[in-house]
Every structure is written in C-alpha cells, then in structure tokens.
C-alpha cells in the first residue's frame, strides 16, 4: 500500500485516492482540425516509462482535489507532489 502525500491533506493511504493517468496532456487547441490518427493519439496514447512519471491523482476520500505526482514506476517511490497549475518540479 502506498502512502501518498496529498498536497493539501498530507500523507494518506493509497485507498483514499484515485489514479488519473499521465499528467500534462494538453487538450488540442483545435480538436476539429485533427486527423483521426492525431485525435486517437491525444485520446489513447500515453507514455509508459520505467522510472519517473508525472501523473494525476485525485484525493477522492479526502479533500476531493486533483493534483500531480512524480512517481517512479519501478520503485513506486513518490518524488514530488504538486498542485494543479503548478509546474512540474525538477526531480533527480
């Protein structure tokens, strides 16, 4: 079980959170102009790194806020958490 530090509530049990996939996936500026393939890439294609990964989490059982976390997908260590709108912090 992970202990995830919510940027508002502090460290909480993983069971209080929901996962939201890769962070910083920008909505296309003009979706209507995209080809089917480009749209599919926006909808379905995500990075799958072994190592640091910026991803979204929602503290559903607590403050119900979305935030971002940088997690090492190999070790599950969480290197940073930051609020929505804040830039991704530099992590080692």
């Amino acid at each position: 079980m992970l202990l995830i530090p919510c940027p508002w509530c502090g460290p909480r049990d993983e069971a209080e959170f929901h996962y939201g996939g890769q962070a910083h996936v920008a909505y296309p500026e003009n979706p209507a102009a995209l080809s089917d393939e480009e749209w599919a890439r926006y909808l379905f294609f995500r990075d799958n790194p072994k190592g640091l990964f910026a991803e979204r989490w929602s503290h559903t059982a607590g403050c119900r806020r979305w935030f971002n976390a940088v997690r090492d997908t190999a070790t599950n260590e969480i290197h940073a958490v930051y609020r929505v709108g804040e830039p991704r912090p530099v992590t080692a």
């Binding site: 209080e16 403050c63 119900r64």
Partner: protein, 208 residues
C-alpha cells in the same frame, strides 16, 4: 390519490423525524457502560456546505457575518459552541450548528455572499454525527482508520475527511474524543462496525 399522499407526508411533524442511527441508542449506551469508551449519536445537527474562493471578498464577508473566520489551513476547525467551520477542501467548508439553525444560517451566508460565485447548500440530512469519546476512542478508531490519531498530530481543532472501515467520514477531534460525520445511509454500517470494534474496550460492565 397522489395529492393526498403528498399532503400526508408533508403533515408529518418535525418531531416525527427519525435519526439514521436512532436504532442503536440502546447498544451505544451498553457499550459505553464500561467507562473507557462512550458511543452516542448527536442527531439532526445543522450542516451547511459552503464553497467559496478563500481569497475573495465574499469569503471575508461570510467570516464576518457568521463571526467565525473560515479556516484556511487544511484539516482545521474554527469557531466552537453553536457554530463551527470545518475545512473540507481549499475552497470548501462545512458549517456545523445546532438543530434548526439551517434556514437562518443559509440566509446569512447567502446575504454575505452577495452576487459573488458562492455555493451554499443545506446538507443537514446528508450526514449524522456519531460520538466516539473516552480514553479508548483512539484505539477503537485505529481499528479502521489509517490516519495518525495521536493528539500531537490530530488533537482538538483538527478535522479530516478520510475513511473509517472503508466508509467515508469526516473526523473531528475534540477535547474528550471524536465526532464522526457519517453519511446517513452508512450510519447503520458504521454503528455496527464501531460496536464490533469496541467489544474489547467496552469493559467488564458491558462485556460481562
């Protein structure tokens, strides 16, 4: 026929209300007989959910209007006695007041909000309040709550939205123990769980 049904249901006096955990009063009392633990329900508390940008002038006007500044530090409670403001999120609070205070409180909040982007909702019926107090309160809650409940971390003036035995609760720490704001539909489950978790702490009087 439909008309008469509506008339009957609206004619039910407020004294006929039944709190979500009313059926557990006797068992709560029995579990509290040992002295180390006190379980009880506080029914029908007024709860008003408030959402407003904490930096907006409306938030300040609301704080002035209700005499309790909205707490901005996560997980804290402001006020006391007849009006408490519990931090639920960075722009969300729930205000607790005695039974019957909802219409007046909502009116005061709405007036203080002015025309700004504020949400005021009477959610009194959403949750009931369970009391887990006494020396053993922390031990009982620790059976199903992942939070650190040590008074150094979670003492009086602190509150948290979390899960107790997988049920979502708002946990409020007090001098003598805790209040649990539990959704009405979960009240029976949480009451059963509390009674089960407290068996070993109920003391000889209740356990004999």
């Amino acid at each position: 026929m439909a008309d008469s049904t509506v008339a009957v249901s609206m004619a039910v006096p407020i004294a006929g209300r039944r709190s979500p955990a009313a059926a557990y009063a006797a068992r709560f009392e029995a579990a509290s007989a040992g002295g180390g633990l006190r379980l009880a329900e506080i029914p029908f508390l007024t709860q008003v959910n408030l959402r407003v940008d904490p930096k907006s002038p409306a938030a300040e006007r609301i704080g002035t209007a209700i005499g309790v500044p909205l707490p901005v530090e996560p997980g804290t409670v402001a006020g006391g006695g007849d009006l408490e403001a519990l931090w639920l999120g960075p722009d969300e609070w729930v205000l607790l007041a005695p039974d019957g205070a909802a219409p007046g409180l909502v009116a005061r909040l709405t007036e203080a909000a002015g025309g700004e982007h504020v949400s005021v909702v009477d959610v009194s019926a959403q949750r009931t309040t369970l009391v887990v107090a006494g020396d053993r309160a922390r031990d009982v809650l620790a059976h199903g709550c992942t939070l650190d409940l040590h008074p150094r971390v979670f003492g009086p003036g602190r509150c948290a939205q979390t899960t107790l035995a997988r049920a979502g609760v708002v946990l409020v720490a007090g001098e003598d123990g805790f209040r649990l704001l539990v959704r009405s539909s979960f009240a029976g489950y949480v009451a059963e769980w509390l009674l089960d978790a407290s068996v070993e702490y109920a003391g000889p009087a209740a356990g004999a």
